[in-house]
């Protein structure tokens, strides 16, 4: 009477993430996930409460991986270089996860868990403190992340349709922010 588990929460989340990138959020159905892990849709409810919870777990997994990338990126100790490295890490992560990335900041997805959020914030906060001073660290970090995530959302959405060079606009932005944060902000 036992009954062998034919899948796992990790497998379900991994499948969800793969399908999300392959088919988009609308394609991330319970049936599609069930098929991918080799089970029938109702069985998924042994692993996750409902579809929203599944999406939440996927978002958390993505946030965790982003945190790793940011941590690896901001490691030179030179605040100006680290800021540029953080920005580059954000952008390459977004390009590699175009469907998942916008979900991290989507009002409708609940957002990442506090833990995942904290992990993702750590590296940015550290560099922001180095650059803008402890007193302005939080506001500076929010400015950087807001710019990066807004830019990348727009880039992924194809919202830059007035011509011009998108890479150049990105470069302009990083440079401007590095300058803005680094000036007479040693509060």
């Amino acid at each position: 009477m036992p009954a062998p588990a034919r899948t796992s929460t990790e497998a379900v989340v991994a499948a969800g993430r793969a399908i999300l990138e392959r088919e988009g959020l609308a394609g991330l159905t319970m049936q599609a996930v069930a098929t991918e892990v080799g089970v029938r849709a109702p069985s998924l409810y042994k692993r996750v409460r409902d579809r929203a919870a599944l999406v939440g777990l996927v978002v958390d997994a993505v946030a965790g991986e982003l945190a790793e990338r940011l941590e690896q990126a901001a490691s030179t100790g030179d605040p100006q270089r680290d800021l540029r490295a953080l920005a580059a890490a954000f952008r390459s992560f977004a390009h590699a996860n175009p469907a998942a990335y916008p979900l991290l900041f989507d009002p409708r997805s609940g957002g990442p868990s506090p833990e995942a959020l904290g992990a993702s914030s750590a590296a940015v906060l550290r560099v922001s403190a180095d650059l803008a001073g402890e007193h302005h660290a939080l506001a500076a970090a929010r400015t950087v992340v807001a710019w990066a995530t807004g830019f990348l959302s727009m880039e992924l959405a194809g919202a830059f349709r007035l011509g011009g060079d998108v890479d150049e606009a990105w470069e302009y932005g990083v440079t401007g922010l590095a300058r803005a944060l680094g000036r007479d902000s040693n509060g």
Copy 2:
């Protein structure tokens, strides 16, 4: 045999927008819109091709209204003041349209039409040119809009969960951007 029209595309779009804010994107169903305009769901297909097209029309309407607000806001002629006014207009519009605003930059909504996009961009481009010089106008405008939209997406998503004062972070960002765009950028 004629057959009186019992609704109109404008009424459908207005209903869609109202329901979007009341019930969220998931609540914006063809049935809900049909009920609101006093018709049965299949009749909506005389006005819009499908649900995605309806959402697109709603997004366009919202983009058009945002363009008006931005145009009204940036009118003092002083670039620094106009930039702050633009930022304030973005934020109050987002707060007034919390469900619709993120859709403007959502990869999944197709985004606003080129016309609506152009109208929304005009005021920001003008102020950016005044501030950063014609040569950097586009990159500067993209920096400002990216920051504002990213900040507001995060604010609406409840992503600022590390404490601190959100208004202060906004203020810090505007000030930093105004400084960054206005310095030695007269290319």
